[in-house]
């Protein structure tokens, strides 16, 4: 894709009737955003509990390798596990204390994973492993090194190691960085609060990311339901000779925050099937990730805390927390005043793409943007009925798939047909299952279909 093409699309963002045009993509759905109970609540800092658990797998890629021993004293911010490869990330202790055990512990994904357990001594003694760097004189290479050393990963939930994104292969020319402030998942407000309360860090983080990639153009894309954040960000950025940073309002629609759809909305570029954002010259980062980059470089702080929204109909007082990573979710629930009614389902992340937890005693990890507690009432789905052929799943699918046809093909075990339905394009956004009036849950069949195709490939 040529540069000229992108400029053409960017120039399209003209003013109509004095209002800035709002960009978006085709398809998608409009769930209730349910953010009212936490969006105006300032982030509350939470004290670490007595025991913290750090799974070695908190990111996409190889698990980290412990570099401490049982019984050893560690400081806050000290590296306790080393990246297990290029696509992997360091892990740091979020408290000072003693390594109690390195053993299998329950992970939010529901399986047991090798984890480092640390007993908090409450002294909060800080390690000086990472020294603050001067943001003016720091070199691109130093920034990337620091991001890697600080163990920063995508904090929107995908947890892809950030230093990998910042080191594109030489043949991929990057034109833009987009900071993803869409936060299109209902309930979640952690990015929203970060934009409001750590605006300066977000903007400085973006400048550092631009510097690391040696480019000028950066965008912060925010959904129109967060006007206060848009205004705050606008008041904090000024473009100068070095960087050209713009705040872009994108339509409030799910899944606006999907990388491919955000890129489409902001730059007009289309990421072809099977390709990555960097193939069209774009790098997308999450808001909190961006702020984490600023903290790592400017203050020498590794990634040891994150913002978590705790909400849902069973939470007595929904709040946004800044949480030391490794804290069990049960600790957050206590700080919210406990469950106000019987919780039947706990979700880490948003209600559309989050993971259902099998226990409340699993730790907050780098990708935990929220904890939702739903009652039986909220969690239940209606009875499955015959597909009405209503097409709601088709018009709602942001990837232009045919979820109803996929389901049919999976049920009929028609593998030949399945190969033509582009199952690999599915971004698991759940829109199809959300809108289906007959409770067909097409996404579940997409998953089954993918597994079937994979099995067939193995056989062939």
């Amino acid at each position: 894709m040529s540069k000229i093409n992108a400029n053409f699309n960017l120039n399209k963002r003209r003013k109509i009737f004095g209002k800035t045009e709002v960009f978006t993509f085709k398809g998608g759905i409009h769930p209730d955003d349910m953010k009212g109970s936490t969006e105006t609540k300032a982030i509350v800092d939470i004290e670490a509990p007595a025991e913290l658990v750090f799974p070695l797998q908190q990111h996409i890629g190889a698990p980290a390798v412990p570099c401490v021993e049982v019984g050893q004293r560690v400081l806050m911010g000290q590296k306790i596990a080393e990246a297990g490869g290029f696509v992997s990330a360091n892990i740091h202790s979020s408290v000072s204390g003693t390594v109690k055990a390195i053993e299998q512990r329950l992970h939010p994904s529901g399986t047991k994973v090798q984890s480092i357990v640390i007993e908090n001594d409450g002294l909060n003694e800080v390690s000086d492993e990472l020294i603050p760097l001067d943001e003016e004189t720091v070199s691109p290479q130093e920034i990337i090194e620091r991001v890697k050393a600080a163990g920063i990963v995508g904090m929107g939930g995908a947890t892809f190691p950030t230093h990998v994104k910042l080191s594109p292969p030489a043949d991929k020319k990057i034109d833009y960085v987009i900071i993803n402030g869409a936060e299109c998942e209902p309930y979640l407000t952690s990015d929203h609060r970060a934009m409001l309360e750590t605006t300066d860090e977000v903007v400085r983080g973006l400048r550092l990311i631009l510097k690391a990639l040696a480019i000028k153009d950066g965008y912060i894309a925010v959904e129109t339901n967060k006007q206060d954040a848009i205004a705050k960000l606008k008041s904090c950025v000024q473009s100068d000779a070095d960087y050209n940073i713009k705040i872009v309002a994108v339509k409030t629609k799910y899944p606006q925050g999907s990388e491919k759809h955000l890129i489409k909305a902001v730059t007009g570029r289309s990421v072809p099937p099977g390709k990555l954002p960097m193939d069209v010259g774009v790098v997308v980062n999450n808001i909190d990730t961006c702020a984490a980059v600023a903290r790592a470089v400017i203050q020498g702080k590794p990634l040891i805390r994150r913002i978590v929204t705790v909400s849902g109909d069973c939470i007595a007082e929904p709040l946004n927390f800044r949480v030391p990573i490794g804290t069990p979710f049960s600790h957050l629930v206590e700080k919210c005043g406990g469950f106000s009614k019987t919780a039947a389902k706990l979700i880490m992340g948003g209600p559309m793409m989050g993971v259902a937890l099998s226990s409340v005693d699993v730790p907050v990890i780098k990708g935990s943007s929220g904890l939702l507690a739903f009652s039986e009432e909220m969690a239940k789905t209606q009875q499955t009925a015959s597909c009405l052929r209503c097409g709601k799943c088709v018009s709602g699918c942001p990837m232009n798939l045919l979820p109803n046809v996929i389901k049919e093909a999976v049920c009929a075990d028609d593998l030949e047909k399945l190969t033509k339905l582009n199952l690999g394009d599915c971004i698991q956004c759940g829109s199809c299952s959300y809108v289906c009036p007959a409770e067909q849950n097409p996404l579940q069949y997409v998953r089954t279909g993918k597994a079937k195709l994979a099995r067939q490939e193995v056989k062939a």
Binding site: A343, S359, L388, R389, C390, M399, N400, G430, Y434
Partner: protein
């Protein structure tokens, strides 16, 4: 922890739903049909309401009975049989004998719907198929129109005053116009006014007399996102355009498009029958193709066919073409761009 279930529900995402159900949607359709039914009762009297009750009752009963006979789960709770019954009643003249209406209901539910596997599997709109079936079986009864606001006896249609529907009148006018201008002028003067058509004080089937009443229901369905405007808009605009271009007596571009749009079953068909989920395309582009196809067929039947009214047959024909339309209008894969087009834009 307190107030936490021992065994948490662990299912894969997504964890929430929009709350729409088949039953809820069907109930909305029933609500949306009420204004048209009330208009029908107002114009034709209580027999219209009685006919609606008979059709709905019969359809629900046959659905229940069928499910019992073949021992499958009784599906009357989704209200789809009730909708079929109501739509069938809307498509009948008020003088229709009750027993014929019951036979029509049997045909709609058992032959058209359940023989093919029940809701979601039938390929034709049951109510419309039943209407077509009744029309071929009892053409006389199906085309006995009464003068609005005449009293219709409950069990006999002996004293029904036969009365041409507006479209039949219009067709006649077009035929006679070349013979005697003065005579046709007189006939034209007798045509119901636009206002009559809009408000619904004309002859016709129970549900199709008032465009206004149908529109009220349609707006409700569109606001509740039960139907999208795509099919009705494409349908009605196509009919309007074609009847305007080809429907006039004074050469091209002299047709009375508004008359065609407001009269006959077009409004009812476009908003309530051509939007039936099961028998229309699920792809967004396919829905537009479907609407245009219905429009072309309706205009052709009305202008050049033997029938004054072509809505039912048009929709039924397009129902049959639906799988084909779906096949060729599948949405384009996300992210695939035609390089050529992009380059042109750059220039």
């Amino acid at each position: 922890m307190e107030n936490l279930k021992e065994k948490l529900i662990v299912t894969e995402s997504p964890h929430i739903r929009d709350g729409n159900t088949t039953g809820g949607i069907m109930l909305d359709v029933i609500i949306a049909l009420m204004p048209a039914l009330i208009a029908g009762v107002f114009v034709f009297g209580y027999r219209a309401a009685a006919l609606a009750v008979v059709c709905v009752g019969a359809c629900v009963f046959f659905e229940w009975a069928w499910c019992k006979i073949v021992k499958k789960q009784v599906s009357i709770g989704d209200f789809s049989a009730a909708v079929t019954g109501l739509l069938l009643a809307m498509n009948l003249p008020v003088t229709m004998p009750f027993w014929m209406a019951i036979v029509g209901s049997l045909f709609a539910i058992v032959i058209v719907k359940q023989f093919f596997g029940g809701i979601g599997h039938n390929f034709m709109n049951p109510a419309l198929a039943a209407r077509a079936f009744l029309l071929t079986s009892w053409a006389q009864a199906m085309t006995t129109w009464v003068q609005p606001f005449t009293k219709v006896a409950f069990f006999s249609n002996a004293d029904a005053v036969s009365h041409a529907t507006p479209l039949a009148q219009l067709a006649q006018n077009v035929d006679t116009v070349s013979q005697a201008t003065s005579a046709s002028d007189a006939a034209v003067a007798e045509l119901p006014s636009y206002l009559d058509l809009f408000l619904g004080t004309t002859g016709g089937c129970i549900g199709e007399v008032s465009a206004l009443a149908i529109l009220i229901g349609a707006v409700y369905l569109i606001c509740k996102r039960v139907i999208s405007i795509k099919i009705p808009a494409a349908y009605i605009l196509t009919v309007a355009a074609l009847t305007f271009v080809f429907g006039g007596n004074d050469g091209l571009f002299s047709g009375d498009a508004l008359y065609h749009v407001l009269s006959g079953g077009l409004m009812l068909g476009a908003f309530f029958m051509a939007t039936d989920y099961v028998t229309t395309p699920y792809t967004p582009n396919g829905q537009i193709v479907f609407g245009i196809g219905c429009g072309i067929l309706t205009a052709v039947i009305r202008l050049w066919g033997g029938y004054p009214e072509g809505v039912s047959y048009s929709i039924l024909l397009m129902n049959v073409a639906t799988p084909l339309i779906d096949k060729y209008t599948a949405p384009k894969r996300f992210g695939v761009v035609k390089e050529k087009k992009g380059d042109k834009k750059n220039a």
